[in-house]
Each structure stands twice: as structure tokens, then as C-alpha cells.
């Protein structure tokens, strides 16, 4: 129900999610983000959510739970291609200004430079 694909871009690592992010599937992503943030000096992660159809608070909890350490290391975790249903959950949690969102991968490539 959740596929996690990691690819290397010039200024960040892209994590593409296919499927859903709920309490059952979050451990899979949690360990991926943990490894990237632990093993990189300046962990910059772009989450591509184009093919994510659902997210619960358990999913958003992963991002909230890891962002502190990532920003301590002068990195960041940002998002692109977030559909309305998924964005709605960020809004309900009042977390839409907690993260930076890009409309497309191209926009992220042009602007996600720390």
C-alpha cells in the first residue's frame, strides 16, 4: 500500500511516495527519512506526493517528528505535487505554514537550494 522511491537530485534527495500513508504504512517511510537525516550533514529532502492518495495524522507526524533534527543540521524537508485531499490534512492540523510546498518538481528544482 506504500511504495517509497528515493532518487538523487542536485540539491536534494527526492522521496516519491505511491499509495497511502496511514498508521500501518508510516514505519516504512519513517526509517527512510531517519537514515537520510542521520547520514547526511545537511539533509535536504523533497517529498514528491503526486501519487499519494491519502494521509492521516500518523503520516504527517513523521514529517513533524523529523523536521526539528533536519533543520538543526541546516537541512530541510519540503513537498511538491501535493493533491487537495492530502493538503487538506496539513490545513486541518494548521501545519501548512510549517513546511514549504512547491506546485511541481520543476519549481522545487529551481527553488530548493539552501
Amino acid at each position: 500500500m506504500l511504495e517509497v522511491k528515493i532518487s538523487e537530485k542536485k540539491h536534494f534527495k527526492k522521496i516519491q511516495l505511491n499509495g497511502i500513508l496511514n498508521a500501518e504504512t508510516t514505519p516504512k517511510l519513517d526509517s527512510v527519512i531517519y537514515k537520510i537525516s542521520a547520514n547526511n550533514n545537511c539533509p535536504n529532502i523533497l517529498m514528491d506526493l503526486e501519487n499519494l492518495s491519502f494521509i492521516s495524522s500518523a503520516g504527517i507526524g513523521i514529517f513533524i517528528g523529523s523536521i526539528g533534527k533536519i533543520r538543526e543540521k541546516k537541512g530541510d524537508l519540503r513537498f511538491c505535487n501535493v493533491n487537495k485531499e492530502v493538503k487538506r490534512v496539513f490545513e486541518l492540523l494548521e501545519m501548512e505554514d510549517f513546511f514549504i510546498f512547491y506546485d511541481s518538481l520543476d519549481e522545487a528544482i529551481n527553488h530548493f537550494i539552501l
Binding site: 500500500m1 500501518e24 526539528g68 492540523l93 494548521e94
Partner: protein, 184 residues
């Protein structure tokens, strides 16, 4: 009200969705529908059942014709959050039974989620503070947002604990379409 044909369709929907989610047959057979003025779904407490029950809830809510797609997504999210809390905190990931009742009519939906976890209360809705962003950054907290979401989405929440018997979460949301006020 859900008619018999709807109920038969829901059973097919469960089978098809279970296959699509690659759930073992044993999970599918644990889900049973009870026909009445409302729909009651009984299933095993397991994170593997979360997505199937969420999709089934969306299907039932859409049959009621009381809610926009937007509201249906919100309500099914609240159900997912409540079930997650029960599975993780009331049953502590051990096996158990959960009964979800969805009663749609009178321009609103009433949801009743019952569990039989030994530990009783998984939350007190009145005592949940709003997440504070500055503290979240320091605490690296990953949990505790579910109840906040439920409170935000639903119009009314009550939680009843009957020690040794059952715990019941009751939630209500009014129609955003304002159709069928006579209570279909």
C-alpha cells in the same frame, strides 16, 4: 437509509477492496455488515484493516447522499484516526474486536465506535491541547495529532467508558448538503 441492494453492493465492495489491498482472506471475513436503519461493521483490531474500513466508510457515507466529497474525505479521516487510537492505545496492538456503526439520516451522520480494550479510555476529548508548533520542533513528537483532527472535523464528540465491558466513541457531523431533512 441503506437498502438491501446497497448492502449487497457493500459486501462486494469489501471483497474487491480487500483483494486490491492484498489483504489476507481472513481479514475480509472478519468484516461483517449488519443490516438495519444504519450500518454496523464489525472487524478485527488490526492496522491492516484501517484502509479497508476507511474506504468502506467513504462508500457508506456517499450512499447517504448527505455529504459532499470534501466532507466525506474529512469524516473518513476522523474514522481512521479514531480506529488508529483504539488499535494502538486501547488494544495496544493486541487482537480485539471493533464495531463501527454509521447511522446517516436527519441531515447528519452519527458514528459510534465501540471497542473492548481492557485499558479503557484512550483519550478524554475535553483535555486535548492544540499542538504548539514551537514545542513540536523541540520535542520531535510524532503522535498526538489524531484527537485534534477529530475535534476539528466532527461537530460533536462524546466518549463513554464502561470498565470491563466496552468503550464507546460517539461522533456526529451535520450534512453539508442539507438534503433529505426528512431523515432518509
Amino acid at each position: 437509509m441503506i437498502i438491501k441492494e446497497d448492502l449487497d453492493n457493500l459486501k462486494d465492495f469489501i471483497d474487491d477492496t480487500g483483494k486490491e489491498l492484498s489483504l489476507p482472506t481472513s481479514y475480509n471475513s472478519d468484516i461483517r455488515l449488519f443490516f438495519g436503519h444504519d450500518v454496523s461493521v464489525e472487524f478485527k483490531s488490526s492496522l491492516s484493516n484501517l484502509e479497508l474500513v476507511r474506504r468502506l466508510s467513504k462508500k457508506i457515507l456517499s450512499l447517504s447522499d448527505l455529504f459532499s466529497e470534501y466532507a466525506i474525505n474529512d469524516i473518513s479521516l476522523a474514522i481512521d484516526e479514531a480506529l488508529t487510537n483504539i488499535i494502538k492505545h486501547s488494544y495496544k496492538n493486541n487482537s480485539g474486536k471493533i464495531i463501527l456503526r454509521i447511522k446517516a439520516g436527519n441531515a447528519k451522520v452519527e458514528l459510534e465506535i465501540k471497542d473492548f480494550g481492557k485499558k479503557g479510555a484512550f483519550f478524554n476529548p475535553g483535555n486535548i491541547p492544540e499542538p504548539k508548533k514551537d514545542e513540536l520542533l523541540k520535542n520531535n513528537s510524532k503522535n498526538g495529532f489524531g484527537i485534534f483532527l477529530i475535534k476539528k472535523i466532527m461537530d460533536k464528540i462524546n466518549y463513554y467508558v464502561c470498565p470491563g465491558i466496552s468503550n464507546t466513541l460517539f461522533m456526529e457531523k451535520y450534512s453539508d448538503k442539507l438534503l433529505n431533512i426528512d431523515g432518509r
